[in-house]
Point group: C2
Chain length 206, copies 2
């Protein structure tokens, strides 16, 4: 299968959510028009996206909901669970650890780290905030699949360097800096101000 | 100017951050290679992105940092401030209100709403949490430019409908649902689980 683009992956995630809601209500088939509505795209784009992974739909009948959902879970790598660590237990880190939506998708937050003694030792959702100096020891016998970096900007690259040395291959970066990592490490950046700037752009250009 | 794509707008935001860091250090010019590194893209893509807005660079000299930064701020609609309201004062809403990065970009959180009496009346960063029933009255003489919806999923569409009636044209949606709004309203969705799924996809396909 050829590599698919980031916006396509994002739409597949949205399709999957919508399919799972339909499956929960016992709905067996869904049209590309209905799928398009969930992802704010067109039916033609839905058909194009899904054709990348083989033939799912039947003309006039639509897509079989449970089969398509299972295939999307497989494509998105969701047929397993992922251990997640959060580095930085400030406001963003705290909100993420307590966010309910991760566990249900198989992303299990098992480690939380900070360097502030006032935060170390507290427990959130049953996960204790540990001293960031302990990461190397903690991960010695198996560490996280994904690490969320939620430190201040000036600490983030140092954390990323340590994570790379520890063999971490996937980072979700909330720090407002560009992280430099080797090619075999994937970084996704989340920057709240940038999300707002996309809106200010839209307001500016009507 | 023709409409530019969402990934392009995002790259422009990253270029601007990088340019502002350089300007703060007194650096006068920057190459497309340097700009490419900040946005994790190629120099060719940088030149293509910036050519959309006219000619900025001089061959062999690079781009003039302050001029390009000013032009990007203008394009992104950042030469003014935006009043922001946050609806939903739970963990996500709380983290957003207390997030420092908005104010410095001109996004001023002036209103916070919730329906929970235990939250109403508390103040965060000097902004009092108000009763969500008061929105219509509060916005009567000028409301927010942008509203961040951080309610539970089942409340989000109702909030969006009220915002549309109040004339709000830009929504940043953190609720895990697709919001249905008229064509003249822009919605940007932030879904933390979807960000993680982009990483699980990458891990799955290595």
């Amino acid at each position: 299968m050829r590599r698919i683009s980031e916006p396509t992956v994002r739409r597949l995630s949205l399709y999957l959510r919508f399919l799972e809601e339909h499956a929960a209500r016992g709905i067996a088939t869904i049209s590309s028009d209905e799928l398009a509505a969930c992802g704010a795209t067109t039916a033609a784009q839905v058909r194009k996206d899904l054709s990348l992974f083989g033939s799912f739909g039947k003309r006039g009948l639509g897509y079989a909901v449970p089969e398509l959902a299972a295939r999307l879970r497989d494509i998105l790598g969701l047929e397993r669970t992922y251990g997640v660590a959060v580095v930085g237990a400030g406001k963003v880190g705290s909100a993420l650890v307590q966010y309910g939506g991760f566990t249900s998708r198989g992303f299990l937050v098992r480690w939380v780290y900070d360097i502030d003694p006032a935060r170390i030792g507290h427990a959130w959702n049953g996960v204790r905030v540990s001293d960031a100096r302990d990461m190397e020891v903690d991960f010695h016998e198996g560490g996280p699949d994904i690490v969320i970096v939620a430190t201040p900007g000036d600490a983030a690259q140092g954390v990323a360097d340590r994570l790379v040395r520890l063999g971490v291959k996937a980072i979700l970066n909330f720090a407002p800096v560009h992280l430099v990592v080797p090619d075999d490490v994937v970084v996704k950046n989340v920057n709240m101000a940038i999300e707002l700037e996309a809106l200010s752009y839209a307001l500016r250009h009507g």
